[in-house]
Symmetry: C2
């Protein structure tokens, strides 16, 4: 066997020894992204960007079916606009980049690079909205944003990142709240069905909610090492922005009313979540629905008569139906190629050599289980579909098992600390809804409240921290 585990372990950090170093190794070795001379900003390379394109396509189709319309609004926002909503500016002002010069002249008013666009959307909605007949406005943009983070990590937290930000206004509170949850459902589908990562759904606590929001809903994911990633959020604003921004309309009774607003977003952070949720010591592991390359053909003894030709023929046939690659490089051994494509997380490798051709078969190797199977050349085009489905499902299940293994219950602080230090993962515990307890838990354990799950469980009656009467169950965890 060429692809002994030993070969690769030398090249990347062991996943169990130093998970975050393993992560940055994968980002670079799988050629997803690289650092740049602009501090805190990455260059997304073709393979990484192809993953993002697949996320965009899948998500955007669902958006359009649910009535979302895409737009593009300015990158630069004047200081005056940013300052209009008090909580919002307090949340974002410390981390925005400011343009102070245009051309060779100093600007009269400095402009910030959008960290998010609630203020810009609200300003324009205020200009366009007249009557209830204009509502709802359900707009979204796929764009870049910038937040001046101090510590950065490729995909997970970089100063500039790509995302979509949807901003909507509605006639009634009910309709706006419904939209907030509808978008959370779409995110759930994208993350569970496409990325093969199970999500935990719920509401953020006041402390963790978006600056300026009334309610923030979240889809939370758990990584291989038991830390959490907030994968997507959907916010209900009520009239918090529409009042200061004067977004009003004539309602059905002929009276002036302020609109009800939402916003929601997912970002290139999801690529980080995919790496951390599925990867192993051989490298990246991509679910077939998401993978830019679903299967790679590696010819064995490529210079033997007829091999390259047969491999190329198989490629042409399969490429009609799947996203395929063929590795015809002359200067690498099959063993090197196996490792290379495993590092890149390609779900299926297809080996074809002289003996296979004689027997009218090829050998397929699954990236998730490393199982090998001979498949008849006439049957492979049909069979691959089922294999991809199996892999997709298996990866989801493995991820779910890891989550279950790492989910524990704590009735008091000692248990909480013990569990999180042994296991990381999610801690389920009751909470009194007092922010002091939330802050104390964070201080003692490093765990943030992930959310107040929609699916509540009854774990006693007392707050895990203060022991007073509990109001809800919260899931806690350390995070990226």
């Amino acid at each position: 066997m060429d692809n002994k585990e030993g070969n690769y372990v030398k090249e990347i950090t062991n996943i169990e020894e130093d998970f975050t170093k393993w992560y940055t190794d994968i980002v670079r070795k799988a050629e997803l992204a690289d650092y740049t001379q602009t501090k805190g900003c990455i260059a997304i390379k073709p393979y990484g960007y192809a993953i993002w394109e697949n996320i965009q396509k899948y998500t955007d189709e669902k958006f359009k079916k649910s009535g979302v319309k895409n737009v593009y609004f300015p990158l630069l926002i004047s200081e005056k606009l940013l300052n209009k909503e008090k909580e919002h500016v307090e949340g974002f002002a410390p981390e925005v980049a400011w343009v102070t010069m245009g051309g060779e002249q100093e600007l009269e008013e400095k402009l910030c690079i959008r960290p998010t666009s609630e203020t810009m959307f609200s300003t324009l909605y205020s200009k366009w909205l007249t009557s209830w007949r204009d509502l709802p406005m359900v707009y979204n943009q796929w764009c870049n944003v910038l937040r001046w983070e101090k510590e950065t990590r490729p995909f997970l937290r970089s100063r500039e990142f790509l995302w979509q930000e949807g901003h909507t206004i509605h006639e009634t509170q009910e309709e706006a709240e419904k939209r907030t949850l509808e978008m959370l459902d779409i995110y759930t589908q994208v993350i569970e069905e496409l990325l093969a990562i199970p999500v935990l759904r719920g509401k953020k606590t006041k402390k963790e909610q978006f600056a300026g929001a009334e309610k923030t809903y979240t889809v939370e994911t758990l990584m291989h090492d038991g830390r959490a990633i907030q994968a997507g959020t959907s916010h209900y604003f009520g009239q918090n922005f529409t009042k200061p921004f004067d977004v009003k309309f004539q309602n059905r009774e002929g009276k002036e009313e302020y609109a009800y607003q939402t916003s929601w977003g997912i970002s290139t952070r999801l690529i980080g979540a995919v790496i951390m949720a599925h990867g192993d010591n051989r490298g990246l592991k991509l679910p077939p629905k998401l993978a830019p390359i679903q299967a790679v053909i590696v010819p064995i003894a490529i210079n033997k008569e007829g091999v390259e030709q047969k491999a190329q023929q198989l490629y042409n046939e399969l490429n009609e139906k799947y996203r395929m690659e063929i590795d015809l490089r002359q200067n690498y051994t099959p063993g090197y190629k196996f490792n290379d494509w495993e590092m890149k997380g390609v779900p299926v490798r297809i080996e074809i050599g002289p003996r296979d051709i004689q027997n009218n078969v090829c050998t397929i190797v699954r990236r998730d289980t490393l199982q090998k199977e001979n498949i008849n050349l006439e049957e492979i085009k049909d069979k691959l579909e089922q294999i991809f489905e199996d892999i997709q499902k298996n990866m989801y299940n493995e991820c779910k098992e890891n989550r279950e293994k790492r989910t524990t219950i704590a009735y008091n602080l000692d248990e909480f600390i013990k569990n999180i230090n042994e296991n990381q993962g999610y801690i389920k515990a009751m909470w009194c809804e007092n922010i002091e307890c939330e802050e104390k838990i964070k201080e003692l354990t490093g765990a943030h409240s992930r959310c107040i799950p929609f699916e509540q469980e009854h774990i006693g009656d007392k707050c895990v921290c203060c022991g007073k009467e509990a109001k809800c169950m919260v899931v806690w965890g350390r995070q990226y």
Copy 2:
């Protein structure tokens, strides 16, 4: 008839009276874009953005077939990088926006918002390139850029705009030059086939070429009023950037060599070109391949029994095959709706009322010719395809006729001035290749050299300006 020309002429400026005012009227009345509080930057509204999405999709498919890989590189570029190539920085420094503060701190080195990304791509290529085996690298990004323009006009010249910028490096000069022209061919296809605008292809003069390029190729388009728009450009850089940025590789002979580079781009400017090339006094006119809505169904006497239902049924059927809209608004008359959809440039309107239903027909009205035709309800799904093709072709031909009508020859400056003042349009004239003549022509006539067309004609032997020996034929014209 409801849709008397008179109804609409009142609302928008007459196209023959004030073309540029007509243009901004269309941009707003057809709801393509709006001004924002960020000076010089527009908000692209859903209808305008849907046009851009169609351009992106069509172009990106052709890119991918030709081996282009998409990436995403940082928005912010350090001053040091921008300054590395002398001509380039001289060309762009006066029109960049500078970030000088991040968070609440002043930056040590100011960062510019990319006006274009040659410097960023070159820096990263230098990091990644080792051997001839790594070549070519054919990368592209769809992104925003910013140029601090003094005078702006929606889509045609705004401070921030959306575009794609391709940047490639190659082993040989020949391969790089071939890529430059290959991309120009793709742009030709996009503009002629999708936008239905004929292009003039050629090389820019030294004066008009891109800052830092060795050669700039262009696709030029002519608008309704006879002014030109540069619709896309493709640049060959030779080693102008790869030398200062140290982008080198070990060639097949084992020697170090600097790579050969290209870049190429089209932008949201194309939306401006579509408006100006095809529009008329009724508003926008979109070619069917590009149109976000290819046909709109307007029910007549919508409250008569069975009308809305039948219209909806027709919509459902046609929407399986085409991009359809149905106008069920109760608070507008059919006449208003006709004008509204004509303003939005929808290629075909389908009217269906009680009498039509009785006769099992509907009435279709073409936006380009305003011709009406009754079509059997069983046949319309098939027939629409042919009608769209006819409209697409007819719009291209009308645009071409306008160009031919407005293309003249000048043998001397008097003729040149007379022609351009009477006709605007393209002026074909011989040139000595001396920049003084080019500048004098611009001063006297307001016309820039559009390009040295690939298809040269022999129009005498003397330069139209100085009368000395001519070296080539140039096409000149005033521009947006």
